[in-house]
Symmetry: C2
Subunit: 465 residues, 2 copies
């Protein structure tokens, strides 16, 4: 791909489309725009950063850049983990960070319409008291909803409520040409041609620029409780999961190992309520009332004890819930804080292969002498595996981590898994994606990319490379 | 598009790929292959009908036809309503009617893998006693599961459990080139590149040929009950729906009017349990036990009475449930049986626009002097509207029904609806689709089609025309 550089004339044009104070270039660009949460994948400074306020501004910028062949990298809060929002080929970073409006909550149709830059935690706060609820719940609450849609983010509650794509009903998107399209709306189902909206979910800004979203809301569950079940070992722990899923309707089923819990304790400076075991299953139940949850709690307790849990610890007070879920929420930061650099993989495997995959990750840890930490969404078969550099020298680290990741993705393929459950591909995982899916699928994806973005200006170098 | 005709040499080639007794041509082709359930949309005799037994046979046929530029129309049980499975441009109908194997039920991962020609009613029978359950429940139980995937069929239980696309985890598909691709698998979520599998759901066999499917199963709900609520008029009836959805978790929410119920009584020769009202809401609840359903039933009863229902009739015995749901299940056949010919539309609108749309359908009925019947999935905003020819003379009927449908789709667009909720586009609705979505979206879809099927041999004339 050959693109044009951003010139002084281009900057003037951008200033007239937006306003001068929302156009940044040269030293005025904050260094954060060169990266997402994973510095491991390199720094890429954009030539200009534009903060859009509306679909019309996005349209003007895209139309201009499409004609001038300047790459445009969409960016929300920059909390991704695969370099999806960095300007791999330079050009313009077009940020939605100012587009934070909750445009409408429609209680009759149970929908919300919002701008893409609204943060998950802002959105949930704005819904408080409405009786309505947006289920997707990724660990990173300061991610934008738009970013969540573009990576098809999952999160803790996916077991019961599904992932982000299951909640997207409508989109206003801007094509590379600048044309604004409205897809879907407030309708809850459709069989009206190829579902472009579903295709855009998880397309990481490579096909069109997301400018507005309508999501489905559900009635807020009124009561919840959590259960922590300690097990002697991880295999026993994750082998309980299918029984939990067939016998109850859990909202979340997370697994965690002793070492990660200890990392979180250090990071948070707080004790975890139980330290007796090597592996834990954490299960959350939601329902209309505490009474309504009782029969399910009884079933769950029986299932866990029969599956070999040493105990079943109930967290039904706010304090108890907080102590457990805060630890769970801190895992990523705790691991990150304990090492100089790290790489991660986010594979998803069939649920009955979770233990195999975690054991494989322990084996490669020993093989390469690299410390590995893992946790994940046991109910989804989605694992987050972190390889930590610690005091390994930079050059050796690069070699080791590359070989280690190759091994992990090869294992995922053997287990009939996918390379990413919820974090996406970005540029960091693009080679692994091709390796996993094969050339034919990648070539079809490139054909799709061409149908949307013939000049390839939208987020180049991502997903399909 | 210019395609080649099927020659004697081609037939010989097909006979060697399959076996002679599964290759039909000339008078040996059953006339049913010229149509689906809607004769209104014309008869199109294929030049050959091939009954495949395996993905490998499908691959051989497609590879050959792709090189020879012979159109291939995939066909399951032929129960569609938009002409999706008819050979609009002649060529070959490639039928999956013999591919009925349930390959595997995996209780640990809660999945089933099956061939596309398995009928819905056969699939549900095979799952009986397993404790596992496949939620999609379209009215047409003799449709194939493969056909359901390709139209993204919805059905009664979509309100709670979602539509077919929500249950597809894996696919084996054959590209027009003959290449066999495995998409997804037993993993329950993914953010690994553009989701080709989601794109294929609802693509009506125009992008690839579906040869095997892996679907998600859920734990079978152990108890259910239904509630029938009579209302003075349709508006009151459908205006209760949002309250029902925000206050309870219904599996199905159907609306029905007096006239359609009378049609069904005549058709079935059985009485409906209530005849007091003009409009009815039929709500089904599922749960772990009858006891667990009690609080929800209480809430539902209060909501319906507060919303103006004249009564709330509980159907908790098999006999009572059957009398209601059999009537609901017979609506399409009952309407069809009562008229010489009919046309239908399957629009989906935001839930709060259902009454508006039904009233608009009554208005066009009067405007054109055409009898109209409607029923539908109130919980989804998905309406099935039938225009009946009765004794209108053929030429006048064509004109009237065409104008009437134009009006209805125009109304759907105004209400921000979509042209099809679950029946698809086929060839019959392709013009309405372009009218509804606009040229840009259709051109993107054509670009996608080209990425999969450069010679355009797969189901030509459908969806994107």
């Amino acid at each position: 791909m050959t693109f044009n550089k951003v010139t002084a004339d281009d900057l003037k044009a951008f200033e007239s489309m937006l306003s001068p104070e929302r156009v940044f270039y040269g030293d005025a660009i904050n260094e954060d725009y060169a990266r997402d949460e994973m510095t491991e994948y390199g720094l890429y400074m954009p030539e200009a950063v534009l903060r859009a306020d509306s679909a019309e501004e996005i349209s003007a910028v895209l139309k201009y850049c499409n004609e001038r062949k300047i790459p445009v990298t969409p960016r929300g809060a920059g909390t991704g983990l695969c370099g999806g929002c960095v300007a791999k080929f330079g050009g313009v970073v077009l940020s939605t960070e100012r587009m934070k409006k909750l445009i409408e909550v429609d209680p009759v149709n149970m929908t919300a319409t919002l701008q893409p830059g609204l943060l998950l935690m802002e959105f949930s706060k704005l819904l408080e008291g409405s009786g309505l609820f947006y289920p997707p719940d990724p660990g990173e609450k300061s991610a934008t909803v738009g970013g969540n849609v573009m990576t098809n983010a999952g999160g803790m509650r996916a077991v019961r409520f599904g992932v982000t794509r299951d909640y997207v009903l409508g989109m206003k998107v801007v094509l590379a040409s600048g044309e604004i399209l409205n897809l879907g709306g407030k309708t809850v189902k459709t069989s009206s041609g190829y579902n472009l909206m579903q295709l855009l979910c998880g397309s990481e800004g490579t096909l069109a620029f997301l400018a507005e979203i309508t999501v489905k809301l559900i009635a807020e569950p009124k009561a919840n409780l959590s259960v922590l079940a300690p097990f002697d070992n991880l295999r026993k722990c994750v082998e309980a999961v299918p029984q939990v899923l067939s016998g109850t309707t859990p909202t979340a089923v997370e697994f965690m190992e002793k070492e990660v819990i200890e990392d979180a304790e250090t990071y948070l400076g707080k004790q975890f309520p139980d330290k007796s075991a090597n592996a834990y299953l954490l299960v959350r139940l939601d329902g209309a009332s505490t009474d309504a949850l009782d029969p399910m709690l009884n079933d769950l307790t029986d299932i866990l004890l029969n599956a070999g849990a040493n105990d079943v610890l109930l967290a039904d007070t706010d304090e108890r819930k907080t102590s457990i879920w805060d630890a769970r929420g801190a895992f990523l930061e705790a691991i990150k804080g304990g090492t100089k650099s790290m790489d991660e993989c986010d594979v998803v495997v069939p649920r009955n292969k979770i233990a195999d995959f975690v054991e494989a990750s322990q084996a490669v840890s020993e093989k390469y002498g690299v410390r590995v930490r893992s946790f994940g969404h046991a109910g989804d078969g989605n694992l987050h595996i972190y390889a930590c550099q610690d005091d390994i020298e930079d050059k050796a680290w690069k070699q080791k981590v590359s070989a280690l990741m190759d091994d992990l993705y090869e294992t995922a393929k053997t287990l009939r898994g996918q390379i990413s459950g919820e974090h996406g591909v970005g540029h960091a995982k693009a080679d692994f994606l091709r390796e996993s899916l094969g050339d034919t699928q990648i070539e079809i994806m490139k054909g799709i990319k061409k149908a949307f973005d013939p000049n390839g200006i939208l987020n180049p170098g991502k997903v399909v490379g």
